[in-house]
């Protein structure tokens, strides 16, 4: 995963504390007009590539060979999308990405919240050591673990033709295991969950314990329902991270059946680098789900990103 965060600093930083919205200064009149002009130029710069992507995906090859390029398609080629699905198995790629991102999200929420709860609310021997170890893991860049991760996958004993010592076969390479298990959980998700559980009051658990509830029921029935927004935040960030991940699936898969959409795009571009209308149609398919998810769940994304810098 490409998560590399200094969430400790994030959460300790006053920048992340939510305060009431206070617009300290309302711009008016000419000043507001000037600011609007500046921000519009900025916003257009940010959005032009997306608009260009969609417009290109709807043009004919002949039109794309014109210079200077036309802005709107002379003929709106919606059939490009169907042709793209014929040119490369983008449907399969899309499905694979969806399966992997969803599984990562489910595993992260289930295991991450359990671990976060235990670190925040249960006293047990070794807890401090485990917590500090997790914090240390937050600092590790992806590239400082990727080589051994690849070797672990390759030499996974008793899988993919490997013997008990991991020799002789390909291990988890070219399998769902490699795509799903290593990226299924991150120290940063555990850390975020711990922070959310810590912010809840203690009297709830004391009352529950007096009533004789077991720890797992206190977790499932009392505390976890109270952090639903946090679950949405961590879940969305995990989904986005997994959907956008490129390097790991590139390394561990070669078969087209297991290819995710980001790798599928790169392969398509290398094989067929002149068919821009298809490439842009594929790119649109790879970006639109995240853009829509972001627009509809903006609140949770923004909360997550201000609490935890990603990428």
């Amino acid at each position: 995963m490409t998560v590399n965060t200094v969430r400790a600093a994030a959460i300790a930083s006053p920048a992340t504390r939510k305060g009431p919205k206070r617009w300290y200064h309302h711009a008016t009149g000419r000043q507001a007009a000037l600011i609007n002009v500046l921000l519009t130029i900025g916003a257009v710069t940010m959005l032009v590539p997306f608009v260009w992507m969609v417009l290109t995906s709807l043009k004919s090859p002949a039109e794309l060979a014109q210079f200077p390029p036309t802005v709107l398609p002379q003929e709106w080629m919606f059939s490009n999308y169907a042709a793209t699905l014929d040119a490369a198995p983008f449907g399969t790629y899309f499905r694979n990405s969806l399966i992997i991102a969803s599984t990562h999200t489910i595993i992260t929420i289930a295991l991450g919240s359990l671990a976060g709860y235990a670190l925040a609310r249960v006293y047990f021997r070794g807890r401090e050591a485990i917590f500090l170890a997790f914090v240390a893991m937050l600092m590790i860049p992806t590239y400082t673990k990727i080589v051994p991760q690849f070797l672990l996958v390759k030499f996974m004993p008793l899988f993919g033709g490997n013997d008990i010592f991991g020799q002789g076969g390909i291990g988890w390479l070219n399998s769902w295991w490699a795509l799903i298990i290593p990226g299924g959980l991150s120290a940063s998700a555990i850390f975020l969950f711990r922070q959310f559980y810590l912010s809840l009051p203690k009297d709830l658990e004391e009352a529950a314990r007096l009533d004789g509830l077991g720890e797992f029921r206190i977790y499932a029935q009392i505390y976890t329902p109270l952090i639903k927004p946090a679950i949405a935040t961590v879940g969305l960030l995990t989904f986005q991270d997994s959907w956008n991940n490129f390097l790991w699936p590139l390394l561990v898969t070669t078969s087209a059946d297991l290819r995710v959409i980001q790798v599928g795009l790169a392969v398509f571009q290398q094989l067929d680098n002149t068919q821009w209308q298809y490439l842009m149609a594929g790119t649109t398919m790879a970006t639109v789900p995240m853009v829509l998810l972001f627009i509809f769940a903006q609140k949770y994304f923004i909360q997550g990103f201000t609490n935890a810098g990603i990428k």
């Binding site: 390029p69 295991l111 571009q269």
Partner: protein, 319 residues
């Protein structure tokens, strides 16, 4: 316990500071059966995560350090060669260039983009009607996949049919070969990186701006301070903690730039855009020199650790 209060989340206690852990109750010999059960439950809850993080993060990090002192091609057993990998990489002009490229890329996509982001954040914080739209527009590149969006830029930078050259020629400037021109390749990659990264920086600055006490500005207004003056004497100092945070996460992100290099330039032309991460990738997965790749990734890690410690110290000393 069905009468759980639904709004106790807003507890009055101070927000968690992250690092403190309460001590275990002492006198472990006197714990009750219920307490024992709780501790066992705690262990059960955390075990899957400990195994996962241990296997996929802790062991790999240790293995990286070990492998960095070996010569290892996957097929034969690792061969201990002391510091040979480190010595070789600093004599390798391509790796040295990748360090400079990474630093240059970081300089433009971190401090310079941060300066742009803080201006955008301040403008966005003026209570405009359209501010939600602007915020979304600036942030959308951040949530889209780098690979996908780099494809679009590849098309925009296309020397023959690209939008960028068309735009330049329409205002009378000459087009360039961008990604295939050694002079322009790195600036082009930097443009994409900065474009994509402005959103997150802006967002953190907006959150920080909303926490600045309004009365500071009111007092300054009474004293007749201008907007520019208020920006430099109130806004900038108050944004220091946020600046530190943005700086660190952006540096970590910039040093790990990979996807857009893979799509846009493949490290070329003539290694003009190769990065440290790209050399790790090449050593490991094109040349199958796992030991060398591990050593290069240790150097990458050392750079990040160094920058983090220096900037943390710098922020602390001033306080």
């Amino acid at each position: 316990m069905t009468t759980t209060d639904r709004h106790p989340v807003q507890s009055d206690s101070a927000p968690p500071t992250g690092m403190s852990v309460k001590k275990l109750p002492k006198r472990a010999g006197h714990i009750s059966i219920a307490e024992k059960r709780r501790r066992r439950a705690g262990w059960l809850m955390i075990t899957p995560s400990v195994i996962h993080v241990g296997l996929w993060t802790a062991i790999p990090v240790l293995a990286t350090f070990y492998l960095s002192f070996t010569d290892y091609n996957i097929f034969d057993a690792p061969n201990w060669i002391w510091l040979d990998n480190y010595i070789e990489m600093f004599q390798d002009p391509v790796f040295v260039q990748s360090i400079w490229n990474t630093i240059w890329y970081t300089f433009w996509t971190v401090p310079v983009a941060m300066a742009v982001a803080v201006v955008v954040a301040v403008l966005l914080n003026q209570g405009l009607k359209m501010q939600k739209f602007y915020r979304t527009a600036f942030f959308v590149p951040q949530v889209t996949a780098t690979v996908a969006i780099a494809m679009v830029w590849l098309w925009i930078f296309n020397p023959q049919y690209g939008l960028l050259n068309a735009a330049l020629e329409s205002i009378g400037l000459p087009g360039q070969a961008w990604l295939v021109d050694p002079t322009w390749a790195l600036p082009s990659v930097i443009l994409v990186g900065a474009w994509q990264g402005i959103g997150i920086k802006m967002l953190i600055y907006i959150a920080a701006l909303q926490n600045i006490d309004e009365s500071l500005y009111e007092a300054a207004s009474l004293d007749g301070a201008s907007s520019i003056r208020k920006f430099f004497s109130i806004t900038v100092p108050m944004l220091k903690p946020a600046t530190f945070f943005v700086f660190i996460i952006s540096i970590i992100g910039a040093f790990q730039v990979f996807d857009q290099i893979y799509v846009l330039t493949d490290g070329g032309p003539a290694n003009a855009t190769t990065m440290m991460t790209y050399e790790v990738y090449r050593s490991a997965f094109q040349e199958f020199r796992m030991g060398m790749a591990a050593a290069q990734s240790v150097v990458l890690f050392a750079f990040l650790l160094f920058v983090t410690l220096i900037s943390r110290r710098a922020t602390k000393e001033e306080d």
